[in-house]
């Protein structure tokens, strides 16, 4: 295999002790990651999604060296993360949406200065990278504010900038858009797209906002109960998840539900408007042709399956 990020049967088992009465403790094992294999090429931009507790954060923690895998093989840029954590640190950037990697009591500017020295970033590069982040993430007015006074969205942008000052080859983002408003989300997405396109930074991101995935990632991996249940393109996810497309037709007048369109089913009628669904991997052409031939058609549109529905269905089928 020649991926930049390589996982081969990676596992993480947590031994959890629970109080079970006075002094007695119960031990049990949580298989947070249960034999995951995938490979991400250099420059890839991959979404890593799954329901709560699926094992996404645990995977990222192993990829950064925070946690040591209980089994399997793991390489990032040829480095075993938990063994050579500090060496790997120079080559990766990490953003935890849930907590900051910045210094709570310091202004952003001081945090960045410390990052510069820690990573030994050459002056020119530092200045160029910082200027760019400040411009694209709109940090100008925030540089002298202590991190603890920043709002969640402001802090997140500050964190993303901090993770990129040293030109990492890989960027891990664990829920980078959590709690952001629409404008901030758009900014962050645009920024990530540019970093990925211009620098060739490999990006792996987890999120519960599927719009992130739709707008950023051609490839998506779905994890559930510590296992990879899907790895492929977004469109394939539709087919796998049994997604359906919807044909919305406006007729000249109110008519009984259309029943003779091949492969389609009418699911809703409201006045002259009717909704017909059909499998996402079928062509719409024969259905449209049939309807246009037999009914007084005024207008029509086709709706792609809603990815959130697809995912929800997928999770539900697996009994989450």
């Amino acid at each position: 295999m020649d991926g930049f990020i390589e996982l081969d049967g990676v596992e993480k088992v947590f031994d959890v002790r629970r109080k079970a009465g006075f002094l007695r403790r119960e031990r049990h094992r949580v298989r947070a990651v249960d034999g995951i294999s995938f490979s991400v090429p250099r420059g890839g931009m991959v979404g890593y999604i799954g329901p709560n507790g699926a094992g996404k954060s645990t995977t990222i923690k192993m990829l950064t060296g925070i946690l040591t895998p209980s089994g399997g093989r793991l390489r990032v840029a040829g480095i075993d993360p938990s063994r050579e954590r500090t060496k790997l640190a120079h080559r990766i950037g990490v953003v935890f949406g849930q907590r900051t990697t910045l210094w709570w009591d310091l202004p952003l500017r001081d945090s960045y200065g410390l990052v510069r020295r820690m990573y030994r970033i050459p002056d020119g590069r530092y200045r160029a990278n910082l200027d760019r982040c400040v411009e694209l993430l709109d940090l100008g007015e925030l540089l002298d504010v202590p991190v603890r006074q920043l709002s969640l969205g402001q802090r997140m942008r500050g964190d993303i900038a901090a993770a990129l000052l040293h030109d990492p080859e890989v960027l891990y983002l664990d829920e980078p858009t959590i709690g952001l408003d629409v404008v901030s989300k758009a900014k962050v997405r645009q920024f990530l797209r540019e970093i990925n396109a211009e620098r060739g930074t490999t990006v792996l991101l987890t999120t519960h906002d599927l719009t992130d995935i739709e707008q950023l990632c051609k490839r998506v991996m779905v994890i559930d109960h510590g296992r990879l249940v899907y790895d492929g393109g977004l469109s394939g996810l539709h087919a796998t998840g049994g997604g359906e497309r919807t044909l919305v037709v406006d007729l000249e007048r109110e008519l009984p539900p259309i029943e003779d369109a091949p492969g389609a089913r009418t699911v809703k009628v409201a006045g002259p408007r009717q909704w017909l669904t059909f499998p996402a991997d079928h062509s719409a052409a024969p259905i449209v042709a049939a309807v246009a031939e037999r009914y007084p058609l005024v207008d029509l549109s086709i709706r792609e399956p809603d990815i959130e529905d697809v995912i929800a269905k997928m999770y539900a089928e697996r009994g989450v």
Binding site: I66, T86, M118
Partner: protein, 273 residues
Amino acid sequence: MADRFPVAAGLRGYALVVAMWVRSTMAYRASFAMTTIGNFAASGLDFVAILLMFSHIDALGGFSLAEVALLYGATSCSLGLADLTLGSMDRIGRRVRDGTFDTLLVRPVPVLAQVAADRFALRRLGRIGQGALVLGWGVAHVDVAWTLPKGLFTVVMVVSGAAIFASVFIAGAAFQFWATEAAEVQNSFTYGGSTLLQYPPTVFATELVRGVTFVVPLAFVNWLPALRLLGRDNPLGLPGWVDFCGPFVALLMLTGAGLLWRVGLRSYRSTGS
């Protein structure tokens, strides 16, 4: 480069973080002055108590005021140095509990250095300052014919003492990987231990002195070397060479604490969120 030498990388990282905290402290000079004076005064209260005692008595356990001042100054300086360099390490328990420890692990600097330098508090110079004053006064007034070797011995005593306290700070921090509340125990050994060492060993029960010599060897911080300086007998009747073992004990304890830290770090398992 330096990353091939963990110690060098650690010291460099430590210096970077410390420099940043010092810069940010110095941005508020008035507040720095106030808190340092506060630290000076608070840690000096112990000596005021000793002074009050000596206004009623001439000797404590057979020790004169100047001799007690020497003991007091030595341990205060040692603890002050350790406290200044590593005193914020006891925050690590909280970091382990709330998961923010994760964020230290993704940076290219050894974690021990980051934890040690975290929130470096320059105001702790206050404790060192008052310890040094009392030590100086004690040195000037004890009945010792000072020579260069004796002076050097005193310096070595303070530095080894600081290293011994430092190892307790590190060991205390390491235990917090398993018991996030371990800071209390560590504090009782460092701050509590130092309070004990401010008084002559002769005022305590032999069992206690024995414990402080063999179990948690704090006696090497100041008791044993200072008794030698003052030309007094070892309270446990140990052979004379033991009084010179401070640096070795310090080295041993630092090594042990370092190993404990590594084991603790390896057992770190982050949190679920």
